[in-house]
Subunit: 180 residues, 2 copies
């Protein structure tokens, strides 16, 4: 779909970081005028809804510097260049929770902030979980703690804003609709 | 919640744009090591689930330069500095759809990309819709077209990836659970 396409007249790279790149594009609008677009490039990510054999949801708590607080999320992580999202989902699930998944099913993908970033998250549900021996280590700048909760407990965490992120918010609704 | 807090040792402003600011923070990790955090500052936004009196969902199609494609979203827009989110929701609903809402109800707020951005979206549902005469204009660099669909049509749009954004994806699940 290319309706209302904005043609790039000039693209200026502002910053190339470890996680994000920032560029500013001069674009030609559908009405012939010009505008600037500030665009964040992100490698994309996966997120996993891990459901234990007794029906609990596995959540991870971590500090998010951008928000200056800890929040509770589902396991998630950035794609390595060229990495298959399903393999990335398995890796991140193991690194963050110590679980392997007998069953990993793709749900859907979505852009998180299309107004300024190209980040796309690929969402999976992981079932038939088992503890991995000698699990892979977290990245050395990553600190997470695990919480296993019932759906009702997770909904309470949304109400008191411990869960404060689009991924688990979407996941809880998805679980309810799929009667998990 | 401050678990695993990362203390800022130094914060460097890289870019101050019209929409986003980018800074890189040197942080002290819980294990005493240091790391860099790339952080996008965003003013925050609102998004609205507008439901017509015959139960249809009002969607907007617009070109998203970051994705280099058009996607179909629910009405949404950035907060002005200090703006009350409910007032912003009314303004954006009117600008993007031409509708006023007899009933505007807050649902919940969530971070969209907490790994690198502080954007928070405040989500509302708008009902008892009426056409506004002499509606407010869109921003001059904004082009949207309106689509009113049933919930089933919207779900089909998720399947074929015309709807490709966390906000409407969440909204559809929310509508189903609230039997709209």
């Amino acid at each position: 779909m290319k309706k209302f396409e904005e043609k790039t007249m000039q693209s200026t790279e502002i910053f190339k970081g470890k996680v994000v790149h920032l560029q500013v594009d001069d674009v030609l609008l559908p009405n012939g005028k010009q505008a600037k677009r500030e665009i964040i490039h992100h490698p994309g990510a996966v997120a996993i809804i891990p459901i234990t054999n007794d029906g609990k949801l596995v959540l991870v708590e971590q500090y998010r510097k951008a928000l200056e607080r800890s929040i509770i999320e589902i396991p998630a992580g950035k794609l390595e260049p060229g990495e298959d999202p399903a393999l990335c989902a398995k890796r991140e699930l193991e690194e963050e929770t110590g679980y392997g998944a007998g069953e990993l099913t793709y749900i859907q993908s979505f852009a998180t902030s299309p107004g300024f970033a190209n980040e796309i998250i690929h969402l999976y549900v992981a079932k038939d979980l088992y503890k991995v021996e000698n699990k892979r280590e977290l990245d050395e700048d990553e600190f997470v703690s695990l919480i296993e909760v019932t759906l009702e407990e997770a909904e309470q965490m949304v109400k008191n804003e411990q869960i404060f992120d689009a991924k688990p918010a979407f996941s809880l609704l998805w679980m309810k609709l799929n009667e998990m």
